[in-house]
Symmetry: C2
Subunit: 352 residues, 2 copies
């Protein structure tokens, strides 16, 4: 591991002792920041921003200049892989991502390409290298990808799902073809994340945004198994790099997620950190889990809720403070500051 | 208890032995049935249908004429109470419920009325009486209400929520006023459900559609506590009537829900029935939990998944088969039949 001036986040991921609880925010480089909106306006549409390594670096650093956060996270999108596979990703204002050429047949699954991280996806690796150089030894950098199930969901639905009827139906009626798709996506994610690590990412996170819509057996087969494959292969290709798994609404699956060998689990706010720690805390670090909507309330309430989350985890190492999901675009930036200050001021007693 | 020719559902609610697992479907009287769409067209808009006891009875009986289901459920809406409070309920096609006069101030909370079940809400009681008379001793009838948290969510947001920012902010910033609202709604729900029982409902269900969006302490205070109050008061006002609590995405709260003294818990498909039974099955019956999207698949797959749900619960009494959420409007009616047939054919061995 390279020597960093601030290694709280990486130490906490390994459940080593720290002076205070490290903190970062999902979507910390995002629309709630006026400086982000200015950079985004320079880029034009969202994917042009993702494809521009200098602008990616600029927006990645913006929250770090504003707040004393403990890690950077690559600015990119979870859907770069299916975009590189030629599905035609667009973002429609107020509607989220759309694929012009969604995946609808078993034959189309068989024909999917394997995008080269230093080829079609080189713009992501260039962004990692640019950010890594700009950060120097100041802070660690997180690389990330969508989970295979979550990628498949967008690829098959063609957009963010409501009831996920298409993707669930394919998984039910063509389970072998779906397994093949999930394995192909998992192998692609492995190469993509290993390349991000080689380019300078110190930790890797897998965002499983839609795993929580599945029944337990469907989750085990279609979401967890491909994520377990990713963790296993990364242990060979990028030994020692900590991997964080985050299934939104996955609070019932924590034991199985921890058994993959990942370093940490991300938790949304619907799970108690104390319960989660009792269930899996001797095996993994836990990252979370303030409800992002809390940041709309008065700063005094934000401080109280932050204190509650810290107390919920309790004493000892292995906690990384975060929101339970991405920060909401309408959040006042000074309210995020109130949360971060509260973590810095209130967490040291938990580490004595 | 009155003597019914088919009392499987009521026996299962009390965890008494049955010959096979009883089955009904949430939203069994609904848009997936062409006969429902015809009745709805006669009524005009959705609330006109709800306010017409004869048409409510007609649509309540439609799925019972088509399928060998084990209970009727009152056709109505979960938002009749806030509508009767004067908030101006409308249904916009494709957008769901809208309140023209949402609840936005602490002062407005203090001024909320207490609708009389045999006054402003008499149309619901008339529907219960009409259905009860039409059913005779054929089948039991379920009455229902939205949970206080779920009612408050719609009342404050003014519509179905996306991130529930308004209602969560009020609960955070004005917790005492919110408690007062929740208690007022709980008391109103108690009167409403007791009156449904007096009018002929044999079991009562509380639909907590949005409890699952809360953190555990917020769920305990704002969703569960008012539901516990409802169960407790109904035990006095309508002794012996079984109450079913259903929090969508509430799989992490089952122990606390069972401790309210309710007869049964509804489960969505993200929770394993076997796990749920291990956690609470000695205290309550369990109702669920096939993913409604399963009914889009081939009938062979529907049968397999139905068999899996039956096996997940396992042997012995206390299981009521249901979907994990309402049947989806696009469902082919013959696919619902495949599920019902599978329960009838495959469940008897679990009761020997």
């Amino acid at each position: 591991m390279k020597t960093l001036r601030n290694d709280r986040f990486l130490r906490a991921l390994l459940r080593q002792s720290v002076d205070r609880t490290p903190i970062w925010m999902m979507r910390q480089a995002g629309r709630y920041l006026p400086e982000y909106r200015a950079s985004r306006a320079k880029a034009g549409d969202f994917m042009s921003l993702c494809r521009n390594p200098e602008l990616c670096c600029e927006v990645t650093l913006q929250p770090l200049d504003r707040y004393p956060l403990d890690t950077a996270i690559l600015f990119s999108d979870i859907l770069t892989i299916p975009d590189a596979m030629g599905l035609g990703l667009r973002f429609v204002e107020g509607e989220g991502p759309i694929f012009d050429k969604p995946l609808r047949t078993v034959d189309a699954i068989r024909k999917l390409s394997s995008p080269d991280p230093e080829g079609e996806l080189r713009y992501v690796m260039d962004a990692v290298r640019t950010i890594r150089a700009a950060l120097g030894d100041r802070l660690p950098l997180i690389g990330f990808s969508g989970s295979p199930w979550t990628l498949a969901t967008y690829m098959i639905e063609g957009c963010g799902g409501h009831d996920f009827a298409r993707v669930k139906r394919m998984a039910l009626e063509e389970p072998e073809a779906f397994d093949q798709l999930a394995r192909h996506l998992a192998d692609t994610v492995v190469q993509y994340l290993a390349a991000q690590h080689a380019a300078g990412a110190d930790a890797l996170m897998v965002f499983d945004t839609w795993g929580g819509v599945l029944s337990p057996p469907a989750y085990a087969r279609f979401s967890l198994a491909p994520m377990a494959h990713i963790v296993e292969r990364l242990a060979e290709l990028a030994p020692g790099v900590p991997v964080i798994l985050f299934t939104k609404n996955g609070g019932q699956h924590l034991e199985k997620m921890a058994a993959t060998g990942c370093a940490a689990l991300g938790l949304d706010w619907t799970t108690s950190l104390a319960d989660a720690r009792r269930r899996v805390g001797d095996r993994v670090a836990l990252q979370g889990n303030l409800d992002p909507i809390t940041l709309f309330a008065h700063p005094d309430r934000i401080r109280e809720e932050t204190a509650r989350v810290l107390a919920d985890y309790g004493h000892g190492p292995g906690h990384i403070f975060n929101l339970g999901h991405g920060i909401v675009p309408q959040t006042p930036p000074e309210h995020a500051a109130a949360m971060i200050e509260a973590v810095i001021e209130l967490s040291p007693p938990y580490h004595r």
